[in-house]
Symmetry: C2
Subunit: 339 residues, 2 copies
């Protein structure tokens, strides 16, 4: 194999992202310069926030350029190293993108370049210990500030972030209610992840279901969805509720921005707070979170699900799975096995 | 005078509140029981939040009952006392309501019963040192947390709360931009209150005007208005901006709740916070605020405007002035002179 397969962003999406937004290309394998390493991607991470990176508007990262490989987190293997901290064969995490090979260096790109902790498999590193796990950890604890006995409501609860946020809330002594789509996801949340109650939004009347599932209303809402679900939730806040705005996946593929919640002024009467965050700001504290998350996994208190697709050709469709709700847990795709 | 004139809430408003929502009545003067005093109202306070008290839905205070005198803050004079802390002739602040006489006691009603500090006239007590001044003080400082050099944007800037919030931000070393309606209000803000820039929303293109007036975007938005102005503001936030939700007067007389801002998800990319509050929660700290506000007034750093109407018959129309934007500064109405 002496080519670098790539999926380039060819056209900015309007509406649902599809294969038509990308173009397949084959280019020479790049070479690592001084202080750099050449990484072969093994696993790609798929995250709802990637949809935002495809659009040319100001955000927390610059948009992916037209003609550039689609940006994505990855776990890969070092194939050549000109950096003294890395050896050929090391398994590393970086921003590999939708391609076989990437030249990476510590401190470069949103994910930098780090070796996986000993004994941590790539699937765990890219899910519960990765960006989505850290998002759950810092968003729930730093912004949500859940206290024992409080009710914590989670939307996108079966997703990679929501499922971890909910289980952390359980560990912190909260009553946890999850909102997810379909009986399979709901069953996993109740039976495996230990949620106290689950709402299937596909069954309708989310407002009524929240009311029934949160007899004491909620103190923390960890929102991955936005739109109608956010509006319904705002009807069931306790005094001093904290709304953690993690994502708004319901709107990511909209051609026009949807109106916001008509009941936003409930924040005033209930002295409530709504706050957004970007996990990249917390990277200096990643070590603390990974250590704690790993301890919870080893104690059996934190379960996670990986939805593993395979095949380089399946990359564009795998991104779509996030927006159609097909994924069960963290969406990954395997390109290659380590050597 | 041996009757108690009253304006009773007779019909809950749908749309703009008018005289038709109230009924004039004459009742006997009530008597103070043990621990109570009889107060004759001299000045009534008019506040946008009164519109919310007229509606039968859960809020931070129970709704005014149909057939009861409309709730309102007031300054009055003690006519009879069965409480050892109060003497006949004392000038007091309480929740007098739309009537000549009220029986009051310390700790009862949202405003309790307190004597005015020595040398403070009723108009000052009901404006810059009253609920609207305290709202500005605690909302801006506790939630907005302005730092020297930051830009603070204020909507409803010529109102009783907004004008105080903006001047406190100036005192704290911020660049202050106010949004108000019409050239007279805007001129007062620039020339008297010392705002750095002013936006007349009646001149249109609020979004463009905010952009032009806030070349460094804003760090704090103190919002009294909601609706389109809130949405426009959310396009011009700095990283870690704080949106203080103080009120949403644009929606108070709507028959149907208007949609919220379509750009709410900007809170995520900019790690921004939106938080509501109710000043009544801060009453235990009122003394601290009044002392500081009074010192700023005496130093000439804090100006205030009172829009003083007269006549018991004008009470319903005076409430309307708040929602048509006719008031210049704090809206008060004088019923009687002290004896």
């Amino acid at each position: 194999m002496n080519i670098n397969r790539q999926w380039l962003l060819s056209k900015r999406p309007e509406g649902m992202v599809t294969r038509e937004n990308f173009e397949y290309a084959e280019t020479p394998i790049p070479e690592a310069g001084a202080g750099e390493v050449l990484v072969r991607n093994l696993f790609l991470s798929f995250d709802p926030t990637q949809r935002g990176w495809m659009v040319d508007r100001p955000s927390y990262l610059p948009p992916v350029a037209i003609g550039a490989p689609m940006r994505a987190g990855s776990v890969g293997q070092v194939m050549a190293s000109q950096h003294s901290d890395f050896e050929v064969g090391d398994i590393v995490q970086t921003t590999g993108g939708w391609q076989d090979f990437v030249v990476a260096a510590p401190g470069q790109g949103p994910m930098g370049l780090t070796k996986l902790p000993a004994g941590v498999p790539p699937e765990m590193m890219l899910s519960v210990l990765g960006i989505t796990g850290l998002t759950a950890y810092f968003g729930l604890l730093d912004l949500g500030m859940p206290k024992p006995g409080e009710t914590v409501l989670i939307s996108g609860a079966a997703g990679a972030t929501g499922s971890v946020a909910g289980q952390i809330a359980k560990i912190k002594g909260c009553r946890v209610v999850g909102i997810a789509g379909g009986p399979e996801k709901c069953a996993w949340l109740k039976e495996e992840a230990g949620f106290d109650a689950v709402i299937d939004y596909k069954a309708g009347d989310v407002d009524g279901q929240i009311k029934a599932s949160c007899p004491d209303k909620f103190d923390v809402f960890f929102d991955n969805v936005g739109g109608d679900i956010l509006e319904a939730a705002l009807n069931h806040m306790n005094l001093k509720a904290r709304i953690v705005l993690c994502g708004g996946i319901s709107g990511y593929n909209a051609t026009e921005p949807a109106p916001g919640p008509a009941n936003l002024m409930n924040l005033i009467t209930l002295r409530a707070r709504m706050e957004g965050f970007i996990v990249l700001d917390y990277m200096p504290r990643a070590g603390e979170a990974i250590e704690q998350l790993l301890a919870w996994i080893q104690a059996g208190d934190l379960k996670f699900q990986v939805d593993l697709q395979e095949g380089f050709d399946q990359i564009p469709e795998t991104l779509q799975r996030l927006f159609t709700g097909q994924n069960l847990g963290k969406q990954l795709l395997k390109i290659a096995d380590p050597i």
